[in-house]
């Protein structure tokens, strides 16, 4: 089954619902090692992405959908996650440029481009306790599963599982750089909020495309 513009819009709507439900937990996680606003930012961003994509006409192709999501997310949010997710969506759009609908491989490519976009924008390395620790393993898991012949739903489910493990692993990282650097051991034991929200995003993408 191919993914139409409608499916993509529905996917953004599904992420928005999942993130809204997760908002308080994400703020609480961010309260421990950051500034307690991550749930708010993600909620604002995905609500804006949902509204902007929902407003698109039927003639919008997937690239247009991703770009609309990028722009809306960015302008609604700013913060750290704004440029990161905006870049993710723009890269996804660029990865599938010219296609009217997405096949399974296109979607996996788009997914990989998202992870790559987040890394390019934020320049974080794995192990620095950021959303990268969820997104990179997720993209890799999707690619491997697909290479091993998995369906798109199975590949995305594998991605979500990998994201979950990656996010969980951020507990063990003592932040050594940037914002939480001086925290030292006090940052141990806490999941990175951006990694936690990445799991929610990826899981809801997988669920939304589970019958694709």
């Amino acid at each position: 089954m191919t993914i139409s513009t409608d499916r993509l819009k529905a996917m953004f709507a599904a992420i928005a619902v999942a993130i809204e439900a997760d908002k308080d937990r994400l703020c609480a996680l961010d309260g421990v090692i950051g500034d307690a606003d991550h749930g708010i930012a993600m909620d604002l961003g995905f609500a804006a992405a949902r509204d902007a994509t929902a407003a698109l006409g039927d003639d919008a192709d997937p690239t247009v959908v991703f770009n609309a999501a990028a722009k809306a997310f960015l302008n609604a949010v700013g913060a750290s996650c704004g440029p990161l997710y905006a870049t993710a969506f723009m890269r996804a759009g660029a990865a599938v440029k010219g296609k009217a609908k997405l096949e399974a491989d296109d979607m996996v490519d788009a997914f990989a481009a998202m992870a790559k976009g987040i890394q390019d924008r934020g320049k974080a390395e794995p192990g620095e306790k950021t959303m990268i620790d969820a997104w990179l393993p997720a993209a890799e898991a999707a690619r491997q599963a697909r290479a091993a012949g998995a369906s798109l739903p199975a590949a995305l489910a594998a991605a979500a599982d990998a994201a979950e493990q990656g996010a969980e692993a951020t507990r063990n990282f003592a932040a050594t750089k940037g914002r939480a650097a001086r925290l030292g051991d006090r940052s141990l034991g806490h999941v990175d909020p951006g990694a936690a929200s990445a799991v929610t995003v990826i899981r809801s993408m997988a669920d939304s495309l589970a019958d694709a």
Binding site: G34, D35, A36, D37, A79, P83, R182
Partner: protein
């Protein structure tokens, strides 16, 4: 239970605040048409002048937007509470104050701000507007001395912006403005302590937990954890700890001159700040350091967080003349 705030809809707090700000200060600032999060000085920007654009998350008032005015910042991009503004309002600020001599971005060093301002700079480069960026990194507690470039910008923004605003107001070229801003930042050292949390208007829940007898040294202005948590101590002990941390790095010599900022994070009242300043003055005098000027009050807040920070800004002739240069902003006047 939610904390108490005088708000309407938490999600609209920044919009409504800006409307109130514009209503209060019509002789100082305006919003860029079509870009309500871009606040511009009525009197500062002019042809041939470098445009100083500052910005950051809301919730630190009077930082950032209160420092827009003649002699200080030309424009400010306003983010959500504790969140960098997106690139668009930053770009609009830059365009609105572009005098053909280039644009200087100055803001605190936070991942989100860096990404958004960098995207804005890229967008402006495409329109042939030259942008330089100086990050303020005055928060001594946020990274070790060897990694100063990783430090957060906190209340010391005040001195960094002030120097840059003065340089630009004197029509110095972009290179010079950038140099002076960097120098001001290099000579600025802040350490803060927090006693009680603030809460975001959207959640109205305390943004960190702290025991009834505890304080946190080095906490960030968004409630990011600091270097250590310990029992609340006396004003003199707190100041000594802060000044020791700053002196250890700044290593002031006898005869050095500094400006001082004793800043409330929100709910700590002037009485406590001045009690702190008494000890700051004594420590500086002991060390043989001359105090050129002192500011005490709410300059860089964290909503209603309880706590305070102390900033020392070391002056040479040039930085002193920048500091003494007059400015007239919506929420701040000097000189």
């Amino acid at each position: 239970m939610q904390t108490k705030k005088i708000v309407n809809d938490g999600a609209r707090a920044v919009e409504e605040m800006l409307q109130g700000v514009l209503a209060a200060h019509p002789r100082h600032i305006r919003a860029v048409e079509g870009s309500p999060r871009s606040i511009v000085s009525l009197n500062g920007p002019r042809p041939g002048k470098v445009g100083l654009v500052i910005g950051g998350g809301s919730g630190h008032e009077p930082t950032f937007l209160g420092f827009v005015g003649k002699g200080l910042a030309d424009a400010c991009a306003v983010g959500n509470v504790f969140a960098s503004p997106p690139p668009d309002p930053i770009v609009e600020c830059a365009k609105a104050v572009d005098g053909g001599a280039g644009i200087l971005f100055a803001y605190g060093n936070y991942a989100g701000d860096v990404m958004n301002f960098d995207m804005a700079a890229e967008m402006l480069a495409m329109e042939d507007i030259e942008v330089r960026t100086v990050l303020s990194t005055d928060d001594v507690a946020s990274a070790p001395p060897g990694e100063r470039e990783k430090r957060r910008g906190v209340a010391g923004n005040f001195f960094v912006f002030k120097a840059g605003g003065a340089a630009a107001d004197r029509m110095l070229p972009l290179d010079e403005c950038e140099r002076i801003l960097r120098k001001a930042n290099d000579q600025t050292y802040t350490v803060g302590v927090a006693l009680a949390p603030c809460s975001l208007p959207q959640t109205r829940r305390p943004n960190f937990e702290i025991g009834p007898d505890e304080m946190e040294i080095g906490m960030g202005i968004h409630g990011e954890p600091g270097v250590e948590r310990g029992p609340l101590r006396t004003a003199d002990e707190i100041v000594d700890d802060i000044i020791d941390k700053i002196f250890a790095e700044m290593a002031p010599s006898r005869g050095d001159r500094v400006a001082v900022l004793v800043n409330s994070l929100g709910s700590t009242p002037l009485m406590e700040l001045y009690i702190m300043n008494r000890r700051v003055a004594a420590r500086l005098a002991d060390r043989g350091v001359e105090t050129h000027a002192t500011w005490v009050g709410n300059y860089c807040t964290s909503l209603e967080m309880a706590g305070a920070s102390i900033t020392l800004h070391r002056l040479d002739g040039e930085l002193q003349s920048m500091l003494d240069h007059p400015c007239d902003c919506a929420m701040f006047r000097a000189g």
